[in-house]
């Protein structure tokens, strides 16, 4: 009690208001060299941190460590890569030099590879620490990688005791932190090992890589389990290994950016004057419009007309197509009198053909965002959502709705106007907008459908929803002619229940069929 009283007295003697506080230490952040990872990390790698890169074989652990190393090493502040009883160094160099980030001129100048196998086999953990200490003190590295740290500990667990391992980890952390190195311990771990292995306790950052097989497709994921001193984006992020190394796609990709939607928005022409009238003057710039309809109702033709109209007004466009190859899409536009070939040559239009069958929405979004930025595109066509879903790895299809929400938010946030098509199966007793519950994601919805009139399967169009203003409520007939979609009829007043596809004639005036009946 005496002590407590003393503390209370001391506390009350303190000034109530602190006038100025010393500045907090600013933790410098290092680039990861991995596209998308800095954003996930909350800006980059905390300098002087001690990190674990863990995961099963084949997840890209070594490649990640190499990218970090090549992005940061300089002759003055080099990187040391210690290999231990793992992949032979010659094979590692053989494989890693295939990546574009691997710069051979950095080898031995700013990056050194050092094998610790002999030290470990001869003198155990002591030998490893001594060897690392010698090398670190000799070169004052900015980055230190031990690959595979797991092999060091595996041998220790077999031959030495747990206290030795803890002491080793402690010595290593003290050494590397004191020498101002940002460190990465690479190892193949199972999640359960995190509880028992002391290295996970002392680590400032834990990068967990995984590889999931779903049906026939493989999806790699990254999770930042721990990141002391800074906030990182939680959750699982998709990663892909390409010729450029790892690429990471934050699960919040695009959502964090500021919306660039202007206060007063233009109305963009769809390329079909009558449709523009139905839309209250056109599509509001920055809107997401969904066109739903069954096969053959002209969804792609409408999308192409939307793009072509933009191009006519000098607005660059991007088309992400999933069901047809760009050549076919371009040729079909040509048959409707729209030249998409020249704008592609002039870098005003980019056709993205995304169909590798194990895509993630994030990757698709990144590809589209990149193209939109490259071209400063104003109009984007996604044709179609069904094809898009088919192009995704099975694991991503489960989250398609949530992913679409993020994607549309990210893309409209970038200021682009989106024209998305979706195929619906027409039934003749209802009118659904799509089998996805996504209508809440879009600002505007156009519905196309077949109706049976006078012994013909005709097509009607209606504007179901427009968030940005009033729109026509008419159901109007249209045809697909040699110039694309053309709305030909005024509001249908002769029929009721057009939305079912099997309308009842209520009017008296017999009308002429818009297209000749087959004899």
């Amino acid at each position: 009690m005496k002590t407590l009283n003393k503390i209370n007295v001391a506390k009350s003697a303190l000034p109530r208001k602190v006038v100025s506080r010393p500045a907090k230490i600013a933790i410098r952040q290092l680039p990861t060299g991995v596209r998308g990872l800095d954003e996930i990390m909350g800006g980059g790698l905390p300098e002087f941190s001690f990190n674990i890169i863990a995961g099963a074989p084949g997840c890209g652990k070594t490649t990640l460590a190499h990218q970090i190393m090549f992005a940061n090493a300089t002759p003055r502040k080099p990187a040391l890569f210690f290999t231990v009883l793992g992949e032979p160094a010659l094979k590692m160099l053989r494989h890693q030099q295939q990546y574009s980030f691997f710069d051979p001129t950095q080898l031995n100048r700013s990056i050194r590879f050092i094998n610790l196998s002999s030290a470990l086999l001869k003198n155990g953990l002591r030998g490893v620490v001594e060897e690392i200490t010698r090398e670190v003190e000799a070169s004052s590295p900015a980055i230190v990688v031990v690959d595979s740290y797991r092999n060091v500990t595996r041998k220790t667990i077999a031959e030495e005791n747990e206290l030795d391992l803890q002491a080793f980890v402690q010595r290593l952390v003290l050494l590397l932190t004191s020498w101002q190195a940002t460190t990465f311990m690479v190892g193949e771990y199972a999640e359960a090992e995190m509880r028992d292995n002391p290295v996970f306790t002392v680590a400032d950052g834990i990068f967990w890589l995984s590889q999931n097989v779903e049906r026939n497709s493989v999806v790699r994921k990254l999770q930042i389990i721990k990141s002391r001193g800074q906030g990182s984006v939680p959750g699982l992020h998709t990663i892909r290994i390409t010729a450029d190394g790892l690429q990471a796609y934050s699960r919040t990709l695009g959502l964090l950016q500021e919306k660039v939607r202007p206060a007063k928005r233009r109305r963009l022409s769809s390329g079909i004057p009558e449709l523009d009238k139905m839309l209250g003057g056109g599509i509001l710039e920055g809107d997401s419009l969904l066109v739903a309809g069954p096969s053959g109702t002209g969804k792609s033709a409408l999308a192409t007309q939307f793009l072509a109209e933009g191009l006519r007004h000098g607005e660059a466009g991007v088309a992400a197509i999933f069901e047809e190859r760009p050549e076919g899409y371009t040729a079909r536009a040509g048959t409707l009198g729209m030249d998409l070939r020249t704008p592609q040559k002039n870098k005003m239009l980019e056709m993205l053909y995304l169909r590798p069958l194990d895509l993630s929405v994030d990757e698709t979004m990144q590809e589209i965002l990149d193209a939109v930025k490259r071209l400063k595109a104003k109009r984007l066509v996604i044709d179609s959502l069904v094809g898009f879903e088919m192009a995704l790895a099975p694991g991503f299809r489960e989250d398609f709705q949530e992913s679409l929400y993020r994607m549309i938010a990210a893309l409209t946030g970038a200021g682009v106007t989106i024209f998305t098509t979706v195929e619906t199966a027409d039934t003749f007793n209802e009118m659904s907008f799509s089998h996805y519950t996504i209508s809440f994601l879009t600002d505007d919805i156009l519905r196309l459908r077949y109706v049976e009139i006078e012994g013909q399967l005709r097509k009607v169009i209606t504007v179901v929803k427009m968030r940005g203003g009033n729109h026509s409520k008419d159901i109007r007939e249209y045809i697909i002619g040699d110039k694309g979609v053309a709305i030909i009829g005024p509001r249908q007043e002769q029929y009721a229940r057009l939305t079912t596809g099997l309308p009842d004639r209520i009017g008296q005036i017999k009308e002429l069929a818009p297209e000749p009946k087959a004899k």
């Binding site: 290999t83 032979p88 160094a89 010659l90 094979k91 160099l93 053989r94 030099q97 051979p104 001129t105 080898l107 031995n108 050194r112 590879f113 050092i114 094998n115 610790l116 196998s117 002999s118």
Partner: protein, 147 residues
């Protein structure tokens, strides 16, 4: 890869390295044959890179390939640390020219092996760590790539 003999370019490169070591003089060389000197010097950076065991395995493969190409005295062995042993007894008994040729073939095979694993660029970077000022034969493809 079904390997034949050492490539001509690598033989020339091996000769250059051995000539460089010969010029260093008998005192520095400690009467070791030039090929042994070259192997000893290469051992340091390569064992750092791949460990003693890794370097020893690579040299053993090179020696096997060299033996298939030119006669090699059976006295020469690779020690556990990757250094060459048994050469002390050679010069008295063997033809120096034959031994020089055997040395060239061994070094060339070793460099060829390295090249086949990590490519010529990285192989050269390892070699220049040891001999940064070595003069390479003019017109040779390897020499032209020195940076």
């Amino acid at each position: 890869m079904n390997r034949q003999g050492a490539t001509p370019a690598m033989r020339l490169f091996a000769e250059c390295l051995m000539a460089y070591e010969t010029k260093a003089g008998p005192v520095l060389a400690g009467n070791k044959p030039p090929a042994v000197l070259v192997c000893d010097k290469l051992r340091l950076p390569l064992a750092t890179l791949m460990g003693n065991a890794g370097y020893r395995a690579l040299l053993a493969r090179a020696l096997t390939l060299a033996k298939a190409e030119t006669p090699w005295p059976s006295e020469v062995v690779i020690k556990p640390d990757g250094s060459l042993g048994g050469w002390e007894t050679l010069e008295a008994q063997d033809d120096p020219q034959e031994m020089a040729e055997a040395g060239v073939v061994l070094i060339a095979q070793l460099l060829d092996l390295l090249t086949s694993f990590i490519g010529e660029d990285l192989m050269l970077r390892q070699v220049y760590e040891v001999w940064p000022t070595v003069q390479l034969p003019q017109g040779d493809s390897i020499a032209q790539r020195k940076k």
